[in-house]
């Protein structure tokens, strides 16, 4: 299978797993497009509605939707998944226009480049840094460790500090 085909399969499995999910923020119902928006933002296990996603990164909802629609349509894997889930045939846009993640960068109140720290070293220092922030502040973390994509969302869920967006090696975490 091509990388795109594998990715489409992953996206469809993800949408199936979360078919009855409600927004992790406001409990609103989620349509397939909202699930794909969340996946594109790196929030594959805590999907949120477009309004909550936009609010988390400080953008107006319509601007956010336009940006994500552009992104979804420009990547073959997402476009294919949308076709299957919505039963439509969205117009193709050139793949070259898209980067590896949507072109949104949340506002950050603090920055930490953790380099290649991982596992316990990363978790412990991260806890110290987030604890030092005021409630609601966002930390932009850079972590290149290969375990980070799985570990950081788990850390966020367990500690109650929501993951705003993930685009490895960049992560934005809000102090809960």
């Amino acid at each position: 299978m091509t990388t795109d085909a594998i990715k489409t399969e992953t996206l469809l499995a993800h949408a199936g797993r979360h078919a009855a999910a409600r927004c992790a923020g406001c409990r609103a119902g989620l349509d397939p497009r909202a699930l794909l928006y969340s996946f594109a933002m790196g929030l594959k296990d805590e999907p949120r509605c477009p309004a909550c996603l936009a609010s988390a990164i400080g953008r107006p909802a319509d601007e956010f939707r336009r940006g994500l629609d552009e992104y979804l349509h420009s990547r073959p894997c997402y476009r294919e998944a949308l076709t299957v889930l919505e039963g439509s045939a969205p117009e193709a846009r050139p793949a070259a226009a898209a980067g590896p993640s949507p072109n949104f960068r949340p506002r950050a109140d603090a920055e930490w480049d953790a380099g290649d720290l991982g596992c316990g070293d990363l978790a412990l220092e991260l806890r110290n840094r987030v604890q030092a922030l005021p409630a609601g502040a966002v930390l932009h973390l850079t972590a290149t460790d290969p375990g980070a994509p799985e570990d950081l969302p788990a850390w966020c869920r367990m500690t109650g500090n929501p993951l705003v967006m993930a685009a490895h090696p960049d992560y934005w975490i809000r102090k809960g």
Binding site: G118, D145, P146, G147, A148, E150, D151, L152, A154, W155
Partner: protein, 120 residues
């Protein structure tokens, strides 16, 4: 809600018997309806690489590759310790089915407050 089960395996070719029975027990847990994770650390992380387990066959058990394939096909997850993985310079693009490189937080989250586990 099914129960959870973790099998922790820290050995690869340094103890093929333990590496094998890790997956035998994991399949028993999976087959018993448990949501099962095999956590690989130390030399066990080498089992995460395609081809590595191909020549491991302990008397009395199916070949390890087959046990691992069946585990993944049955929905079992293999969590591979990231620091051990990096230390041994292994290849993230060459992981066996069901495997993901993780740090400790992911394992800690899975185990939650009450999760039986067995360690090899």
């Amino acid at each position: 809600m099914p129960g959870k089960f973790v099998v922790s395996c820290s050995l690869g070719k340094d103890n093929t018997d333990k590496a094998t029975v890790s997956f035998v027990v994991a399949n028993a847990a999976l087959g018993s309806g448990k949501e099962t994770v095999v956590f690989l650390s130390i030399e066990g992380v080498r089992l995460s690489q395609k081809g590595f387990a191909d020549d491991i066959k302990e008397e009395g058990f199916a070949p390890l590759k087959e046990l691992m394939d069946n585990f993944a096909k049955g929905g079992g997850k293999i969590y591979v310790c990231s620091p051990c993985f990096k230390k041994r310079k292994l290849d993230e693009n060459n992981l066996v089915a069901g495997a993901a490189v993780v740090g400790g937080a992911k394992l800690v989250e899975f185990m939650g407050d009450a999760c039986p586990s067995i360690s090899y």
